[in-house]
Symmetry: D2
Subunit: 400 residues, 4 copies
């Protein structure tokens, strides 16, 4: 057992921390005047610099990416989480592209890879992952209502999706759509994934959905989308018919590590903001930093961050060493622990800012909304807790 980062990680961390200090934090104020669905104007320039600094596609193992393990990439994802509206995109490590690139790299056909993976890896286009539906509890994959039906050499897609992140960005050129090719098949082989280009007839972007009042326009928003007899060539199917659920599970593991480590970075940012505020303000003749309750928040925040980070890193290590399946409990555990921990810390940071804490002059309320949403994304906490509990109980069931 050994808790230090390896040399490669330390080297990347050092360079990434410099990149954040020199370029990213300095660019944050430009976000204040952002509106609409285009990416922040500063982004291309940041991407250029990240690429030059060798900080590009760090998330992707194997030949297509930087070749880092989950355990090596996790601390880097954390650092980008300190500025989640800019840093992940600047490094071409932003969701949902990361998961989509992983899917294409692992399951895509050569022609799919050439057409979509290559421009994604180069940061020339963005993508979206269309899974969540308004009418059903999407945490139960058997509920999916979208149909993908074979018709000659094509598939025809009909369905209704919402909260499709990034899809309002006009540069989001390709959708990976989850739907059912065979509703009568066994529970976990009914679903398939298929590639749908943005300009396919019948694909209608209905509106942007808000998150606690935010359009998240600088992230490409969250779209409600109608698929009305959308027709694509059969070659657009990813993998085989019925493999959709399995691919989505493969996609989840690294995605959760990334999300959770970015959450740790968000928590660190919030704690930093809480500390600097506490030192700056002196109501009633005593600095906030000397108030017992504020000290309690700061201490609790530090303790919770340390605990949660270690758990995410262990989950990453398990994924690297025993695979997704062996890391199942830990991956679920971080999905449960990281969003609520981070949400709690940001809430306290907001409270330390008074009225200013809820407005547009700090990143805190936007960070909070993001963390809150991650208690729902990929299934609400409660679904994961139930599943984890059942596995825990099974240890005693099998004994009897």
């Amino acid at each position: 057992m050994e808790f230090g980062f390896d040399a490669k990680t330390e080297d990347y961390r050092k360079r990434l921390l410099s990149f954040m200090d020199e370029h990213v934090f300095a660019a944050e104020p430009t976000l204040a005047t952002h509106s609409g669905w285009e990416p922040p104007a500063v982004l291309p320039e940041l991407q250029e610099k990240a690429r030059a600094a060798g900080l590009w596609n760090l998330f992707l193992p194997g030949e297509h990416g930087a070749g880092l393990t989950n355990l090596q990439y996790a601390p880097l994802a954390e650092i980008t989480g300190r500025s989640p509206s800019l840093a992940p995109a600047a490094l071409n490590c932003a969701a949902p592209d990361t998961g989509n690139m992983e899917v294409l790299a692992e399951f895509g056909s050569p022609s799919q890879q050439q057409e979509w993976l290559t421009p994604l890896l180069e940061g020339k286009i963005r993508s979206a992952f269309a899974m969540t539906e308004p009418g059903v509890a999407s945490s139960d994959a058997t509920n999916i209502g979208t149909r993908i039906e074979r018709d000659g050499s094509d598939y025809v897609i009909n369905g209704h999706k919402f909260y499709i992140s990034g899809a309002m960005n006009p540069n989001c050129k390709i959708f990976i759509v989850m739907g059912k090719t065979d509703p009568s098949a066994a529970r976990h082989v009914q679903q398939s994934m298929i590639l749908v280009p943005r300009d396919t007839p019948g694909l209608q972007i209905k509106r942007g959905m808000t998150v606690f009042g935010y359009t998240d326009g600088d992230h490409g928003g969250h779209a409600e989308i109608i698929f009305d007899n959308v027709r694509v060539p059969a070659a657009n199917l990813i993998g085989e018919e019925g493999s959709g659920f399995a691919i989505s599970q493969a996609r989840l593991g690294p995605g959760r590590i990334h999300h959770c480590m970015r959450l740790i970075g968000m928590a660190e940012r919030a704690l930093e903001l809480m500390c600097t505020r506490a030192l700056a303000r002196t109501p009633f003749g005593k600095p906030l930093a000397e108030q017992g309750v504020v000290q309690d928040w700061i201490a609790e925040s530090r303790v919770r961050i340390e605990q949660t980070r270690l758990l995410v890193l262990k989950a990453a290590w398990l994924m690297d060493t025993v695979g997704n399946k062996g890391a199942h409990t830990e991956i679920q555990a971080i999905k449960i622990a990281a969003p609520s921990t981070t949400q709690w810390i940001i809430d306290k940071a907001i409270q330390s800012y008074g009225a200013a804490g809820v407005g547009q002059d700090t990143p805190l309320p936007s960070l909070w909304a993001h963390a809150r949403t991650l208690r729902l994304a990929d299934g609400p906490d409660e679904v994961h807790k139930r599943s984890l509990a059942r596995r825990e109980l099974n240890r005693y069931r099998s004994d009897s």
Copy 2:
């Protein structure tokens, strides 16, 4: 001791509940397309109907208003809280006008009343209360930086305010501004309040401040305002020089009852939405309403609502029977209890909606943002807790 409402209250409740069902809830969907700073287009019509139904200025005791006690008005304020973007304004019972009308009715000169109170009572104009400042901890009134200086027959105002609710509404015609007339006076007689019409030269509305991602445009937003050598006649001062802190304290008591009862209404709305959702959704083959964790949320919500409502009603009764001072502990207690209780309940309701819970298709995230803000408005929870604790401790100090 007796826990039933009196006949007058029951009559008003019945009529108000009908008004909500017939007019207010039906009008809510029109809010979805609202933008900008004007009030909702449906509002004048609702106001007309409320006035016709005898549901007008219910908040105001005495000759100018409906003449209800705090205890009689409180359950009505609760009902309006179920639709906080429309109902309070429809009844001319919306903050900050309510507090401002109380101040003018109690402390305003006859000519101040004629010029500003009359149109406010008739719902012809709106008003704002300019107290909070960006540079200081406003919960400590001695921190106020705005100056109100006598210059001949005028006062000249210089200062910087923010989060001035309602002020972005172009129909907000008058500001009650809190500032210091004598920074060298004793701690609580340095401050004064003064009336500043919107179009006074030097009053610059700098921008709207957001609350999480909301502009709150349908409430008139929250303005950042610069007062740069703003000159008004000396007769615009409310009461005497140095009375500002005392007036603000008088203003707080009823305001907190109103806020807290509306919060109870918001909590009831959220609980209703949680129950209807729980009955409608069936993930994994079992209705949410049968899930133990959701049942736990529902039960806890009901228990917490009942407790908090009783405490607010008792505070109202104390204000009516022994006055603000005698109700001090209870008024502080409800300021501590009601926002956090309501926030907790809304959070669970959001969780029961999954992704839909954070977007624009239910009032939940907007209600949440509002409740969250009330943990900061009029001073953060922590300031009130400290004060309440000191009073509790004094009971034992004086014994010794």
Copy 3:
């Protein structure tokens, strides 16, 4: 609506508060050397004084008792809760006698009343209520395993009970035993209650059960009891065969009010101890009373006590005005709210005492153990929450 106590209640409160100050608190130190299962040596003397002061059988409505309503008795029960090991017994208002006397007064035959109710009312004997069983979840009454079988002019009882409070006291002369007379009957008419004198052959007191490390010897402990072919005359049955569940439900309502109001008294005692400690200790050069975290505990305690007390009082008022059934939700709500609130407050008080907080020199750890147990007695919190949630959900079910 009216939150003041009536004159009769105020008079009783005044006299009871004097009795506590003059006699009860002074007698508390004698408990420290108590051991074994006999009642505290000081008790007979306290009972004598309480009776002389007209503070006797206050819990019992109607001709047999003081004739107070639930709303009038509740604030008196609160006061006795400040010293729960002495005051309730001193006033002949201690559980489980109170519930047993209610059952005998309402459902007992004249000869049952003469033999058992009369000496109980006079404080000459004690009693126990034998319902909970070790083998099953007793919160589900259909689980009861004890059998009460007719055999000629007798009933024969076989079963296994535990946590039978008060039963270790040799002066506990009579048991009301819950068992099944007809396991094949409908769900809620299988059970009956029967009177079993302590010295009946076959009734074996197996051992005292502990609560955390306490034997609760001064309360008569908690017994594990075997009923092995225990034979009593048929006339010992209370009411009719099959009425056991109904009687137990009738018994519950007032019992919960009493328990919950005593819990409020325990919480007040703990808060008082926390405040006096906070004023007395000065670690690191600053009194605990000036520490923000301790102030937060004190303020939260006061707010929670006020809320919970009001809810219990409202439940009492509802029982008096609309009966047990109409007060169902509120009775369940207080069972959920009061123990956990009180437990939280006592925990903070303990924390303020450091190591001394867990030992025998303050009543705090014993109060804590008692409050903790009340989250389990009469069914765990979770059972009550589920039931309350279902009723809440039904409001929306019936609409559809």
Copy 4:
């Protein structure tokens, strides 16, 4: 970074787990009939077996002990925590002997080591550490009231100690007493430690202190002790005059790792008991294991255990690699996190057992009382949080 145990640790774990299964759990029922202050009758036999199995003095690094690092010993301490009344003592790894042996091994003179360390290492005697005092907040070492005064070739000790764990055991032969040799010296060099044999005249064991009703007799209880002109030779002083505070700090680091890892073991035991109960009970026709709320407890317990364990292990690793000082934040963090986490889990386990959960038939209430006490031992949580917060804030202070 690497989260697997090394081979040595794995070997020890395997052997220790066998020892627990074969000997310790089997001996637990014998504790039920334990009374008085003697150690459990089964202990000598267990010690014999542990020694034979090479599971002896595992806690002690260096020549005197097993030579394990903190990181190697920590997972073993966890395992002993599953049966804290027997396993630590069986392995001669029980507090406070462990800390006392460390002190003697590191700071004791050769003759002190010969007289006291040798029999302690052999498990022939027990020892106590007399630091806590009733009159003052012991978390502030400058408050210590006990005096150690030089008088010729002796030291004379006067003072009053309480909650001295293990001291009621007649086999506890030696006390390490903390007191002030020079109250006028600088803050942290006023204190010294001195060895006082049990039979020294003037040392009066006044009484055993309880912990939530428990005497903890099988651990040797917790004594209140008067030192009344207790005279010992000057050679009994440990180290130099004024070194007491420094030695106590050195003693704390490993002690906290041990306590916290045993707490993890206690939490695992509680979770196991909760799961087996949940599978065994079926109230209202559905196993507890299928109840959503119980599943939530189980999932939360697993997540919290994993997080806390990793933090304790990291603290152990830091102590091994950068020393106590470099591990300061983490050592404080585990002192804050582990007791409250474990307390929470045990509370839920208790709740799942109903009435049986608070009694003597499971180890749960005794485990709970122990965990609760560790939120106070070595200073209450609040003191550690304040200190940790200050260090966190200093990171930003030094920047400015």
